[in-house]
Amino acid sequence: MASKPQARNEHVVNELKETISRATTLLDSLAGEARGEVSVDGDEERIRTLQERLEVAESDLTEISTQLVEAENQRGRLMNLYVATYQLHATLEIEEVTSTIAEIARELIGAEKFVLLLRDEESSAACGVALAQGLEADERSFFGGDRYVGGDAAIDAALEDGSLRTRREPGSCAIAVVPLTVQGSVVGALAVLKLFDHKAALTPEDKDLLDLLAAHAASALLAARVYSATDRRLRTLESLVKLVQ
């Protein structure tokens, strides 16, 4: 069975084909008349009517083409969001969740340089650098190796107020900062520092993806952390039971 978007696309394509067919018939008719029989007075009126109808058909064609392109864009946008969400929640391994966040940033958004900061579990004041990709030496030193202690205005503000930032702000080297939030608490942030040279700027679709990351990356990381801690405790208990036996 065809899916709804597919059925809609097929409907749009069929309408497009019918419009093109009508326009072709009109053009043939006009061409035939232009070749010979425009001698009767009523023919001029008929040609004017046909031209008007042709203009309407061309306008319909343009509108349907625009709708088709929009439908295709929407399909691509939804597919990206679906795949990103699916992959974020497909595992309970912290490394794999972190790797998926990196893949979304690099492969779907086109980020060449980015850092993933996660607040320490014990002390929420400092952030660990969970992932840093493509950083130069000075940028690495700014993020303090494996610690971030503050200093970038946009990152600090996002960690404080939990708001997504998608443009460069004064005092910041980031072009986008995504706060990672679980139940109202900011547990970290993804800072995009540079896009690939062949990617000019963030698009509205990228902003949708960053928004999705803000909501889903943190919960996926939290689930992985809880699973890891539970698994550790379980192993400890199993070792103790074996010792007692």
């Binding site: 597919m79 990206n80 990103a84 998926t100 492969e107 779907l108 958004i109 086109g110 060449e112 040279d197």
Partner: protein, 122 residues
């Protein structure tokens, strides 16, 4: 749409999932590095198209491509390189090595669908 067999060689699970969704009517064979890609090709001689990443562990995309083009049985399979590497020399290197197309990541789905339609279906 006629379904064909397509080999995807990429170290990103996200990209594999993306192609699973995007190319649903087709039969996809998955590999996560160049070496695995060669193994999968040996098992699937009827592959009609290869979608290939460049930066991968063990054997990168260009090494894989050279191996494929060296093998007379595989050399005719069209290879499309899909990579985050966007410099002109990267594109030239891949095309000189035998790739038929070079698509830069992040890509629009219609770019990939168009190439698949043209190279694997028609």
């Amino acid at each position: 749409m006629e379904a064909t067999k397509i080999l995807v060689v990429d170290d990103s699970k996200l990209i594999h999932k993306m192609f699973d969704v995007m190319l649903r009517p087709h039969n996809l064979v998955h590999a996560y590095d160049g070496q695995e890609g060669l193994h999968r090709l040996a098992e699937n001689v009827d592959v009609a198209l290869i979608l290939l990443d460049v930066n991968m562990p063990k054997m990168n995309g260009l090494e894989f491509l050279e191996e494929v083009k060296r093998n007379a049985d595989l050399a005719e399979i069209p290879v499309v390189v899909i990579s985050t590497e966007g410099k002109e020399e990267d594109t030239d290197r891949a095309l000189k090595a035998g790739a038929v197309e070079y698509i830069k990541k992040p890509f629009q789905s219609e770019d990939v669908l168009g190439v698949v339609q043209r190279l694997a279906v028609n």
